[in-house]
């Protein structure tokens, strides 16, 4: 793998993981809030 390949892999993985973590943390936060109410 060359440096560009590593770059594309890490950036793609990073963006997607960030999106997944961000969205699910918010979702679970809201679900917990609803359950407590």
């Amino acid at each position: 793998m060359n440096i560009w390949g590593l770059f594309f892999m890490l950036v793609s993985w990073g963006l997607i993981l960030a999106l997944v973590v961000f969205s699910f943390v918010k979702v679970l936060e809201k679900d917990n809030k609803n359950n407590n109410e």
């Binding site: 793998m1 060359n2 950036v11 793609s12 997607i16 969205s23 809201k30």
Partner: protein, 518 residues
């Protein structure tokens, strides 16, 4: 009429929509498309299409769906009819949102049943792991009833696995949105993710299996997949392929998201939920899908040429011939092959239940059938409609269904949706509706993207594909004379199904008009 259901939780609907989106394509179609279109560089047009086409369409479908559900409609005819500004003809455009998923279902469930069968045959050691390509191809042909050989002498095993798959699907549909689909997704999606992660890790830890060939390493395999060929970015085909992949992977334009979203409450969030479902799909596609098939093919099939050949071989060949052969070469190969097909089965069933639900919703919401009756009626119709795909597989029947239901209708329907939403209903009202109950604020630039960019992108796709693919297919270019009657039969079946749906819509709406008048 039973009271309209709602999803049990936000996580439940997200996993259900993600389950609908994540399918065989995430693990088989994406990796092939990526390596054939520039490797790492493919991710540039891919992410552009995600931002300008995929995500906007997701949000539009969720919004239209929730609006429709609030008015008691779970499918597009009712949703489009109720849309302010849409004419009386709009409900007939909406029939595509019932016809499309039903057509896809008629062959998708059969393919799904193959994955169940192959999981069974893997775990029990019946797959010819040490036999090579020819044996594995013969096994598949025998199973599909296309050949009688030492593996299969009849179609009965395929029919049996299909029956099990069919009944399992309808069992979840019968249990309802909350007790069936949501429950399936809440357990199924974590299982899918677990299996996918396990298989990805197994492949990524392959190292260099054959020390006499050090170039066939997983590091080089990942390089083969991710090293960018920037020169491909100048080729419009690559941008079209990326847009197509995003379109198909997110399952927009089918009508299933409309139906799923119709079971949301008016105050339920759409913005974050749509984003979460899309993110989950991308995780399965790029991270898991990109880490299993092609890297494994590179390592075990002689490097770049073997992996490229695997990518060119098509989805079925990759999934049902190449992959079990590859798993056969690693320790505990039977087990991993079984896990691979189990992964595909879970991905399949969470998608197929979503393909059934629009028709069930239509029968319940518009024709007033109870869920039990709707499931029985639809089950009978579906079972009969699935038989041609099973019996006429070798004659291009499935290709025909996949063209109309799985390709053309999607692009056309997505274009109709976005135009109705942004231009007929109006982007200002649509934007406000989208933000009802929203837990995140969508960047305002998306107002302009949804109104101008997404329709333009879809029009380009429609235009290019019409010229390159659709027209040759419609005129049956290259189809053998022996297969033409079967492909015509498929078209007649689609037409009859559409006429049935359109007639039901006309009858229901006429009844309502007469009811209002009296």
């Amino acid at each position: 009429m039973e009271k309209r259901e709602h999803w049990g939780s936000k996580l439940g609907v997200i996993l259900a929509v993600a389950g609908s989106a994540v399918g065989l394509g995430n693990f088989l179609r994406f990796p092939a498309k990526a390596v054939l279109n520039g490797g790492g560089a493919f991710m540039i047009p891919y992410f552009v299409a995600f931002l300008l086409l995929g995500i906007p369409l997701m949000w539009v479908e969720w919004t239209l769906g929730r609006m429709g559900g609030a008015a008691g409609h779970g499918t597009a005819p009712g949703m489009f009819d109720k849309l302010d500004g849409a004419g009386r003809w709009a409900k007939y455009l909406g029939t595509i949102g019932i016809l499309g998923p039903f057509i896809i279902l008629t062959y998708y469930m059969y393919i799904e049943s193959w994955t169940l069968a192959y999981a069974f045959y893997s775990f029990t050691g019946h797959l010819p792991f040490s036999g090579g390509q020819d044996s594995m191809k013969a096994f598949l042909s025998g199973y599909q009833g296309l050949a009688h050989n030492q593996y299969f002498s009849s179609l009965w095993p395929a029919l049996l696995f299909f029956l099990i798959t069919f009944l399992t699907n309808f069992y979840f549909i019968y249990r309802g949105v909350r007790g069936g689909i949501e429950k399936l997704s809440r357990y199924g999606m974590p299982v899918l993710l677990g299996l996918g992660i396990l298989l990805a890790i197994r492949v990524l830890l392959l190292g260099t299996p054959d020390l006499s060939q050090p170039q066939l390493s997983i590091k080089n395999a990942l390089g083969f997949f991710w090293n960018p060929d920037f020169s491909r970015l100048g080729d419009a085909k690559v941008w079209i392929e990326a847009a197509g992949q995003i379109f198909f992977t997110l399952s927009v334009g089918i009508g299933v998201i409309l139906t799923y979203a119709s079971y949301l409450k008016r105050s339920d969030d759409i913005a974050l939920s749509g984003l979460s479902a899309s993110a989950t799909n991308e995780f399965c596609e790029v991270i898991l899908g990109g880490s299993i098939v092609i890297p494994a093919a590179f390592v075990f099939l002689g490097g770049a040429s073997g992996a490229m050949e695997a990518a060119r071989g098509g989805t079925f060949n990759l999934g049902f011939v190449t992959m079990p052969l590859i798993f056969g070469k690693i320790p505990a190969g039977q087990l991993f092959s079984g896990l691979w097909f189990s992964l595909l089965f879970v991905a399949g069933i969470t998608s197929s239940v979503s393909l059934i639900q629009p028709a069930v919703s239509f029968l319940e919401d518009e024709l007033g059938l109870s869920r039990r009756r709707a499931v029985v009626v639809l089950g009978a119709i579906s079972f009969l409609a699935c038989l041609p795909a099973i019996l006429f597989l070798g004659h291009g029947f499935v290709d025909e269904l996949d063209f109309w239901g799985g390709t053309l209708f999607l692009v056309v329907f997505a274009t109709i949706e976005v135009i109705l939403f942004a231009w007929v209903y109006g982007i200002d009202r649509g934007w406000e509706e989208m933000h009802q109950g929203a837990l995140i604020r969508i960047p305002k630039v998306y107002k302009y993207i949804i109104k101008f960019v997404t329709p333009a992108y879809l029009s380009i796709l429609l235009g290019v594909w019409s010229f390159q693919q659709f027209w040759p297919f419609i005129i049956m270019k290259g189809v053998s004379p022996a297969d033409r009657p079967y492909q015509w039969a498929a078209r007649i079946m689609i037409l009859l199904l559409w006429l049935g749906i359109a007639a039901a819509v006309a009858w229901v709406w006429r009844g309502r008009r007469l009811g209002v008048k009296s």
